[in-house]
Symmetry: C2
Subunit: 235 residues, 2 copies
């Protein structure tokens, strides 16, 4: 049975890394003290070691240890043996490229569909959707494909941001970008604001956290859903 948290961000304003999620994670990771960490998204270009060390500072507050997948000789065996996986944020293209390069997409997908707990934040959440076509990240590397896990039957837009009515900037708003996405694609997009996440349990998908999410369905006007609402029928 799938057991997944798809979080908009690792960090909210004025709070430490993962701090707003730690209570939730204590319950989510209750069956294991060791979490397999996938540091491939390398925020700011930092190394896999440095990223893993940063995550351990947060995890140590709830008695958990993150072990970086790059520390294992055979990453596929590491995935198969893991009780829980955490993929952190950074650059989605770098993340996806490395997952394809190491041939791990299918291994993780199979493990998570078989019940291995999975936490994603930001880039690690993007890849829970059908494709990375709705990432906010700069395409700094060219991955072999934009297809991702598809743990949910729609796309994710993490760090969802409302248009700023005072802005004088002419770059596209997030809503315009997703509207452009729907000129070429039909799957729904869930815009998750910083501080909220999707909790997936088997067939149930529930919005949790403090903020509503914005749903974009092809051919419909965007609309809001409140925390506590099930998104099981969205596809």
């Amino acid at each position: 049975m799938k057991n997944i948290i798809i979080a908009s961000t690792s960090t909210i304003h004025g709070s430490g890394p993962l701090e707003y999620l730690l209570d939730e994670l204590t319950v989510f990771f209750k069956d294991t003290s060791e979490i397999l960490f996938i540091p491939y998204a390398r925020p700011g270009g930092i190394s896999h070691d440095e990223y893993t060390s940063n995550v351990n500072k947060a995890f140590s507050q709830i008695g958990k240890v993150a072990k970086g997948i790059h520390e294992f000789e055979d990453p596929k065996t590491a995935i198969a043996n893991a009780k829980a996986i955490f993929t952190g944020g950074g650059n989605t293209f770098v993340l996806v490229n490395q997952l394809y390069k190491n041939g791990l997409l299918e291994s993780i997908k199979q493990a998570v569909n078989s019940g291995t707990s999975y936490l994603g934040t930001s880039a690690g959440s993007n890849i829970c959707g059908l494709t990375v076509n709705t990432t906010n990240d700069m395409p700094i590397v060219y991955p072999p494909s934009f297809k991702t896990f598809g743990f949910v039957p729609f796309n994710i837009n993490p760090h969802y941001l409302d248009p700023d009515p005072t802005s004088t900037h002419k770059g596209e708003t997030r809503e315009t970008r997703i509207k452009e996405f729907h000129a070429f694609n039909t799957q729904p997009v869930v815009g998750i604001r910083e501080g909220s996440w999707l909790a997936v349990n088997g067939d149930s998908i529930i919005l949790k956290g403090s903020l509503s999410a914005r749903i974009f369905e092809h051919g419909k006007s965007p609309y809001e859903v409140e925390p506590g609402i099930e998104l099981n029928t969205l596809k």
Copy 2:
């Protein structure tokens, strides 16, 4: 001899489409009244016809006519016969995908390197650089390659935006994104603010317009260049 304008944006705040550039374009397009327009980037997902019609509203103010490349039976011949080409903004991935699909990258590159005037705004400017790895756009389609014209020996970041010191949002700033780009790539990136452009004449590349540009070189701290400065040695 190359004759190119690489503009950050088509439109600046409080002004009509191309309005801030019309004086410059009167001179730039002085040898022709008809401009071949490439509407492939489809801003907001609008059609090629609608986009061409919008551009003609602006061009009519300086006595010019834009003819959409989609109106020609043979786009390659249209490119070879054109005295001037304008590629408008929208989604860079959609633009690049369509250029590859129609096999036009090489034709345009050859024409412009042989002296056909080229105006790019936003997405149409991104493709003047070496690759689209530094676009701000959402990757709503998967193009066969990220390689582009390379009219200048560096990458472009149009709509360059300074970090907002009052922001509480945790998504990456533009500067962080370009820093991440340089963890995987070595070419310089020129961040052009809305209202400025690069004028390329043969081997000369000069920043023009009202605002300074921000230059990101691999392994160096970013720095500003003022309008009027030559960027010929940047590579």
